[in-house]
């Protein structure tokens, strides 16, 4: 941790989902803070709301109660366009399942956030090539996602999230759904990213190995059922 400047501040966060069997309350007034340079892991078993928490911090979902402040801006209160712009500039997000555009090759998938930000073309190509080289994806740069292994797709997703050099990197289960060999390749890479990125990382995971790599754990408690049956 380089200093104590908060990057993510979560205050009294609650998310209530309506389901067929009743209402499920996630987080239950969660309060926490992630400071600059910190690598925090959101942990807990499947279904406790780790993905929901990452999505709320990224401004992709709205909480039922509470607020999330990222780099001084309350993402739960921002209007849609400002939030989209803010996310593009200040956050890199690695989604569960990679979420690459199928009709674009590796190079263009990674370049995409810079295109959206209207970065200068020369600068854009250089940054994309640099990150492709760092991730060892040089030989695959003209391949489409369908031709890649799951592990390679995950690498492309992480590279895409880092290409804009965002102050905050959000990762949702970066090793989820990968086989052991892919996890063994990706884990030291994630450690390297933390060392080189120098930004703040918030990662949702249920992998003990990844959680140990983080400087702090944010455990999420099991959800509460507010109503178990409906007559």
């Amino acid at each position: 941790m380089s200093n104590d400047k908060p990057v993510v501040t979560i205050e009294r966060l609650t998310k209530i989902f309506e389901t067929d069997s009743g209402r499920i309350c996630l987080f239950n007034d969660l309060c926490t803070e992630v400071v600059e340079g910190e690598f925090a892991a959101v942990t807990g078993p499947t279904g406790v709301g780790k993905t929901t928490l990452v999505n709320i911090v990224a401004g992709l979902e709205k909480p039922t109660h509470g607020s999330v402040t990222v780099l001084g801006k309350d993402v739960t209160a921002m209007d849609d366009d400002s939030l989209t712009e803010f996310r593009g500039q200040k956050m890199g997000v690695v989604f569960q399942g990679s979420q690459l555009l199928a009709n674009l090759n590796v190079f263009r998938n990674i370049e995409l956030p810079l295109v959206i930000q209207k970065a200068d073309e020369t600068d854009r190509k250089r940054k994309t090539q640099e990150i492709i080289d760092f991730f060892g994806l040089g030989e695959k740069s003209s391949a489409c996602p369908a031709a890649l292994s799951v592990g390679e797709r995950r690498k492309v997703a992480i590279a895409r999230a880092l290409v804009t050099e965002p102050p905050l990197l959000l990762m949702d289960e970066p090793t989820g759904g990968l086989d052991t060999s892919a996890v063994n390749i990706l884990t030291p890479l994630l450690r390297g990213i933390h060392y080189l990125h120098k930004g703040t990382i918030l990662m949702a995971t249920n992998s003990l190995t990844l959680a140990r790599m983080a400087s702090r754990e944010i455990p999420i408690m099991r959800p509460r059922f507010l109503m178990t049956c409906r007559l």
Partner: protein, 160 residues
């Protein structure tokens, strides 16, 4: 950002149907407009029917197109693309189809009217009227459908 190149890689069947509808409607308006046996009242009535048909077909097809590209749209939005740029991309795509459909419709309508003995009232006003009606109805249909993008829940789409 030109979102069109990330959303529309090729010409789809839905787009082919939209174009065909615009071609048929434009050509039919020209043929009807230039026909001696059609009164102004029945011309206005049939043109309204044709333009309503174009509006509904374009709206339905573009709605399907928006639904089929929900994931791509959600990814682009999550990476920082503004809703306005994506709306613009869908609108621009509809405009391309509308203009292409109108051009083909004018050619088809002109050829049909020229070859039909009854259609001797063919004039630039009739062609212009048919083009304007087709363009307005298809573009408004596309715009109404593209507004579905506003309701897209990015987080939910990306989880699926």
């Amino acid at each position: 950002m030109n979102a069109s190149r990330y959303l529309f890689a090729s010409f789809t069947r839905l787009e082919a149907l939209v174009t065909t509808e615009i071609v048929v409607s434009t050509a039919a308006s020209i043929v009807l407009g230039s026909s001696l046996s059609v009164s102004w009242f029945s011309l206005a009535l049939s043109t309204s029917g044709l333009s309503l048909g174009v509006f509904l077909v374009v709206m339905f097809m573009v709605s399907l197109e928006v639904s089929s590209k929900r994931r791509e749209v959600a990814i682009l939005r999550a990476l920082g693309a503004k809703r306005s740029s994506l709306l613009h991309a869908f609108f621009l795509r509809t405009a391309h189809l509308a203009v292409g459909g109108c051009v083909l419709g004018v050619v088809t309508g002109y050829c049909t009217a020229t070859l039909t003995a009854e259609c001797s009232l063919l004039s630039s006003e009739i062609v212009g009227f048919a083009v304007i009606v087709s363009l307005v109805s298809s573009l408004s249909g596309g715009l109404v459908a593209a507004r579905n993008l506003s309701n897209l829940k990015i987080g939910e789409v990306l989880r699926q």
